[in-house]
């Protein structure tokens, strides 16, 4: 018991590692603030393009989305980080994370938003078009606001996954929470900093998980 406390909940080490870990937390927050809007934007573009009925647009788009749903984000990240330099393109870890997330999480946001858009009755579009609104105006003012509301739980759930996914940044030396914790661990030879990181993730994301769980169960009960 004593030994477990010493190696996982060591107060001395926790105190020493705190500034390092907190610096990581700050970067995780900043990273999330970058990649969530970026992925959402990517998804928005995909979802709106998916409304084009032309098969020349539709099929490549679906292939694009399925490709990135099939591709592990870490592999994408490593490909950008370790592969691109051979083509003479040297991007930092941070830029690689941004691009990988734009592509990967964009595909997920895109699928969610597409489902949202398709949940809006066609009469809404017709009413808007009958008053002279253009296709893009109809999308912006009528369809998207309702679509986003309809799939809010799914968007939130995906955003939770995106925030968790920022931990991949540690693999390409982005000093986010997990990276900093591992640095501290390798210096102290003690698992306490990693436990700290886990606790921080849990404390921050638990309320979101609770909220989601409620929304999901309410939606399920409503269907019954």
């Amino acid at each position: 018991m004593e030994e477990i406390v010493q190696s996982f909940f060591n107060a001395e080490i926790a105190e020493a590692a705190m500034p390092i870990v907190l610096a990581g937390l700050l970067n995780t927050i900043l990273l999330s603030l970058l990649v969530v809007p970026l992925g959402f934007l990517g998804g928005l573009i995909l979802a709106v393009l998916a409304q084009v009925r032309n098969p020349a647009v539709r099929w490549p788009l679906m292939a694009w989305v399925d490709f990135f749903r099939a591709f592990p984000p870490l592999v994408l990240l490593v490909l950008l980080f370790a592969g691109l330099p051979f083509a003479g393109v040297e991007l930092g870890g941070f830029a690689c994370v941004a691009i990988a997330f734009f592509l990967n999480t964009g595909a997920y946001y895109g699928e969610i938003l597409r489902a949202g858009i398709e949940s809006i009755p066609h009469g809404q579009v017709e009413a808007a078009r009958s008053t002279g609104l253009s296709g893009l105006q109809t999308m912006t003012y009528i369809v998207l606001p309702q679509a986003v509301r309809n799939v809010l739980p799914d968007l939130l759930s995906n955003t939770l996954e995106v925030v968790k996914l920022t931990s991949l940044g540690s693999v390409v030396a982005v000093p986010e929470l997990l990276f900093q914790a591992r640095q501290a661990q390798s210096v102290t030879f003690n698992a306490t900093p990693i436990v700290m990181a886990a606790v921080i993730y849990f404390l921050i994301l638990w309320p979101v998980v609770r909220l989601l769980s409620r929304l999901e169960n309410r939606a399920a009960a409503g269907r019954g």
């Binding site: 009755p121 017709e126 009958s130 008053t131 002279g132 009528i142 309702q146």
Partner: protein, 246 residues
């Protein structure tokens, strides 16, 4: 001399294999109220939706208020300001208030300022008797009130023609009267209207002309009394008989 404000000639519409409109000719004069009746599936809705090009006709020509609706050079969004449409299912925007519903196209299509659009929208709601419901969401309104907001949304743009596609069919019987009253006052103000509906009483009282459609064609047309009392065609007679029984 009155010239037709709506002139549709030789309208055909195919949905894949299905031939829904088989060469419809319809002219409507300014201030005229034309009533369109016919069995379900005869193509009434499709015809209305071709007039403002929500549906693309397969062939034919359509002019509304002097605008060639089918020309690729026509800015269709701009043209649609001149043709209001009211739907069976209201299609109000649920995420906006009644006022917001009416204001949107005023701002984004007609390019009015916020305060100007608000004044016009408020006046339009007043015309349909709902000034006091301006800040309610559609979900907080009865079906009849929702449909009147939908009418306000269309007339706020000062259209030259109004299209009504079964505006009262989705309403509980006790709410139909309020919508018909608004339509009647619109008619009295001189609005040109094309109305698809089964409200025979309204047709008798307000229509200048009744058009009977079946299987994608206009079978016959004339003043309400003539169509209802002495129809020339057997199909018209059968249809009117059916409606009477309800």
């Amino acid at each position: 001399m009155a010239y037709p404000i709506v002139a549709a000639h030789g309208i055909h519409k195919h949905f894949g294999q299905l031939h829904v409109l088989k060469g419809v000719d319809l002219e409507v004069e300014e201030r005229e109220l034309v009533f369109v009746i016919g069995p379900s599936g005869s193509g009434k809705s499709t015809l209305l939706r071709c007039l403002n090009r929500l549906e693309e006709p397969s062939s034919g020509s359509i002019t509304v208020a002097g605008i060639d609706m089918l020309s690729p050079r026509t800015d269709i969004n701009h043209a649609r300001q001149h043709i209001g449409m009211v739907f069976q299912s209201f299609n109000l925007y649920p995420h906006m208030t009644a006022l917001g519903n009416v204001m949107l196209a005023l701002r984004k299509v007609a390019g009015k300022s916020r305060s100007e659009a608000e004044d016009i929208a408020q006046a339009a709601l007043e015309r349909v008797g709902l000034a006091d419901r301006a800040h309610h969401r559609p979900a907080e309104l009865s079906g009849g009130q929702q449909q009147r907001v939908a009418i306000a949304r269309a007339i706020a743009l000062e259209p030259r023609v109004m299209l009504f596609d079964e505006p009262t069919s989705a309403l509980d019987p006790e709410l139909v009267g309020s919508v018909l009253a608004v339509m009647r006052s619109l008619r009295e103000s001189g609005m040109t209207m094309i109305v698809v509906s089964h409200e025979m009483g309204f047709a008798r009282a307000a229509a200048d002309r009744v058009v009977f459609m079946d299987h994608g064609l206009i079978v016959e047309q004339g003043p309400p009394a003539q169509i209802f009392e002495t129809p020339a065609h057997e199909r018209t007679r059968a249809f009117i008989g059916q409606i009477r029984q309800h």
